[in-house]
């Protein structure tokens, strides 16, 4: 009894103490201002009410603290950024979040694809170096390495502004509105874009998240075009002249044509101005990247001349075999891997505007590479008796180059046909370049990228099936790109104008620039340097210092 009494007394004391302290605390709290008489509450919109209800039901931090192995709790309406925490999520908040998510998905997609394309530089380096002799390995690798820096610098300074300075309006990447100035001329009553004018040094208004994304993606494309030339002119090209011409190409030649095709320039306006299909259509750059690189390679190759020993007095060609076929084939696989950034990435997004076609684009890319390999292997096996390894690699690349322009517009069977033709075409072209033109191209770059780049551009005008729908229009013309085989001959006309421009304008410009450089600097190393190998004279270090070379008596004597 005593215990019972004591416990209850103690409890009463604690209760009294708590009430006293609580009362004091309440007394210290400033009195809340008198609330005005509540106005009649506006009816809450149904959607907003649903959002608030969903927010109330969203998993709490306590729920999430238990772990979410199934991934069913993580990511809910509670993660939506709200403008007024007290009011909770509104329809406007949800809409903003959806819009930002779309752009974020497209940013990430475009950036990751750009990273893949950047890695293609490693593939190019391996292919080109593997197809050249061991005494020039360091020089060839270094050209592929340094072209990245030369191109990037030139593109940042001016090239990007020329190419994309007037390319505002891309909905996938948030509009790119700072890039709003295209220099145009008025001709025959129509306005034609010639070059962009904003974005120099990525300064001023170009300091923008969307602009940075498109810069990175376009820059790695540009560098791909530049590195094509290094292979064609390998084993006799002066490093200084290579460096200068790469800077000029990254600053002027490439961006100019890329503006005409992709930056709102006159080729892309052929549809809107003259009714030629949807304008020049080059989805990922068979023309813009590969033909520009391949035709520039042809121009420089003509000027720099063939390697010593390539041709006999009767004009017949001698094979000069590369030093590392394993590097060549691994390099080809790296390139094929990077191509999944090249083509599907050219949607510039994975969300909305028809971008779910990325799967079809990736498969078209894969198939064309496959059939290109088959085309080259079978051609060589049947005509020469052996499934030549280097030509097989070139067949894979030829298929990929050819499908680059049409990848966004064609079906899987069409892609397979385009690739197969490319695989055969590259073998025929290599033979013609070497034996008819007497142009020495150690890696076959002119045929892989130049010839098949043109074939890719042409194939858009033939095989585009009219099923793609990138936001309902292409180059500002409503509808889908449709080729001759699917009923639109006018698209083929636009593609032919593009091919003519590549041959007549891009080749000529590249040729003129490099002819001037021939007079100012000179393209070709000395005969002595060429015979001894370019590694020591040009780079100061052998690519493979532990190798011992046999002398080349005939040429050493001549030197």
């Amino acid at each position: 009894m005593k215990t019972w009494l004591r416990n209850h007394l103690l409890a009463c004391c604690i209760l009294a103490l708590a009430l006293t302290v609580g009362g004091m605390a309440y007394a210290e709290t400033p009195a809340a201002p008198a609330q005005p008489a509540a106005a009649p509450a506006a009816p809450v919109p149904l959607a907003t009410a649903e959002l608030r209800e969903a927010a109330a039901k969203a998993p709490t931090p306590a729920d999430l603290a238990k772990g979410d192995p199934g991934g069913t709790l993580t990511g809910s309406i509670a993660d939506v950024t709200v403008t007024d925490a007290k009011a909770g999520p509104t329809l406007a908040d949800a809409g903003n979040q959806i819009g930002q998510n779309k752009v974020a998905i497209n940013f990430v997609w475009t950036l990751v694809c750009g990273f893949l394309v950047m890695f293609m530089q490693a593939g190019f380096a391996m292919v080109e170096s593997g197809l050249t002799r061991v005494k020039n390995a360091n020089h060839t690798y270094m050209m592929n390495f340094f072209v990245y820096g030369c191109g990037l610098l030139a593109y940042w300074v001016i090239g990007f502004a020329i190419q994309m300075g007037g390319a505002a309006g891309n909905a996938n990447l948030g509009g790119l509105y700072p890039l709003a100035s295209e220099h145009s001329i008025s001709l025959f009553g129509k306005t034609w874009g010639i070059f962009g004018e904003t974005g120099y040094f990525l300064a001023g208004h170009a300091y923008d998240v969307g602009v940075m994304v498109i810069f990175l993606f376009q820059m790695v494309f540009m560098d791909t075009a530049l590195t094509i030339v290094t292979g064609a002119c390998a084993e006799r090209w002066k490093f200084i002249t290579f460096s200068v011409t790469s800077v000029i190409m990254g600053a002027l030649t490439y961006p100019l044509f890329a503006n005409w095709a992709w930056g709102g320039g006159w080729l892309s306006q052929l549809g809107a101005n003259l009714g030629l299909g949807k304008g020049y259509a080059d989805f990922a750059g068979s023309g813009v990247v590969h033909s520009v690189g391949g035709l520039t390679a042809l121009a420089v190759c003509m000027i720099v001349g063939p390697r010593i020993g390539k041709f006999n007095r009767d004009g017949s060609a001698n094979p000069i075999i590369g030093h590392d076929i394993s590097a060549v084939l691994i390099g080809c696989f790296i390139l094929a891997f990077g191509w999944f950034g090249f083509n599907p990435g050219s949607t510039l997004g994975a969300s909305s505007n028809g971008n779910l076609r990325i799967g079809a684009i990736a498969v078209a890319t894969m198939l064309a590479g496959c059939t290109g390999t088959f085309g080259a292997i079978l051609y060589m096996w049947i005509t020469k008796g052996k499934p030549d390894a280097s030509m097989s690699g070139n067949g894979l690349l030829a298929g990929l180059v050819a499908i680059t322009a049409p990848s966004g517009f064609v079906s899987a069977p069409s892609a397979a046909i385009i690739g197969l033709i490319a695989g055969v075409l590259v073998c025929v072209s290599v033979f013609l370049v070497e034996n008819v033109l007497k142009v020495d191209d150690p890696v076959g770059a002119i045929s892989v990228h130049g010839t098949n780049g043109l074939w890719g551009v042409l194939s858009v005008g033939l095989f585009a099936d009219g099923t793609s729908n990138y936001g309902g229009s292409w180059n500002g013309v409503a509808g889908s790109v449709t080729g001759l085989f699917y009923g639109d001959a006018s698209q083929l006309a636009a593609q032919l104008v593009g091919i003519s421009t590549l041959l007549g304008a891009v080749f000529t410009l590249s040729f003129a620039i490099n002819m001037v450089l021939e007079d100012v600097i000179g393209h070709r190393v000395s005969a002595e340097t060429e015979l001894n190998g370019l590694d020591i004279p040009e780079m100061g270090q052998l690519g493979y210092p532990e190798f011992v070379f046999r002398s080349e008596p005939s040429f050493s004597k001549a030197a």
Binding site: P306, K310, F311, R313, S500, G504, M515, F547, E552, F555
Partner: protein, 163 residues
């Protein structure tokens, strides 16, 4: 002369000049832009003069002089093909007609690139000359070259084997 300090210096100058020049173009509307344009052009000019100065130091290369006018003619024909295509876009109104003119333009350009230019460059090609006629002509055809290359690349022992 292979790669050298002079080459590196003039290339550095070329990059600086080009960058300053582009800065001038970017801000051409302002007085600073015009000044940058002039300074950049001047630096580029110095680099070009430097390149010209060191060019003769390069050892003799095997390429023989070939007719310059024919080379420019070939480039001109290629350009002409493009102009034909452009002209066709405005002179012809039907799509079929434009296609025909574009094909004609492509044909003209290809004639310039695949016929005129190779003819110009190969007219005096060093590999056509007999070995005894000149030092540079000596880099021409060499009997057994294919065999030699095969020897150099076919087997590890021929390459020289690793130590």
């Amino acid at each position: 002369m292979a790669a050298s300090k002079s080459q590196g210096s003039y290339f550095g100058l070329f990059l600086v000049g080009g960058t300053v020049l582009c800065g001038g173009i970017a801000y051409i509307a302002s007085g600073t832009g015009k000044l940058l344009l002039l300074v950049g052009a001047a630096i580029l000019l110095v680099s070009v003069v430097g390149f010209l100065k060191i060019k003769p130091l390069e050892g003799e290369n095997p390429v023989l002089p070939s007719p310059e006018s024919m080379k420019w003619l070939g480039a001109g024909v290629a350009l002409l093909g493009w102009l034909v295509t452009l002209g066709g876009l405005h002179l012809v109104t039907s799509n079929g007609g434009r296609m025909v003119v574009a094909l004609l333009g492509i044909g003209v350009s290809l004639f310039g690139i695949l016929y005129v230019l190779p003819a110009a460059f190969n007219k005096t090609a060093f590999w056509k000359k007999p070995a005894a006629t000149s030092a540079r002509a000596g880099f021409s055809s060499v009997a057994g070259r294919a065999t030699l290359d095969s020897e150099l690349t076919a087997a590890p022992t021929a390459v020289g084997g690793m130590k």
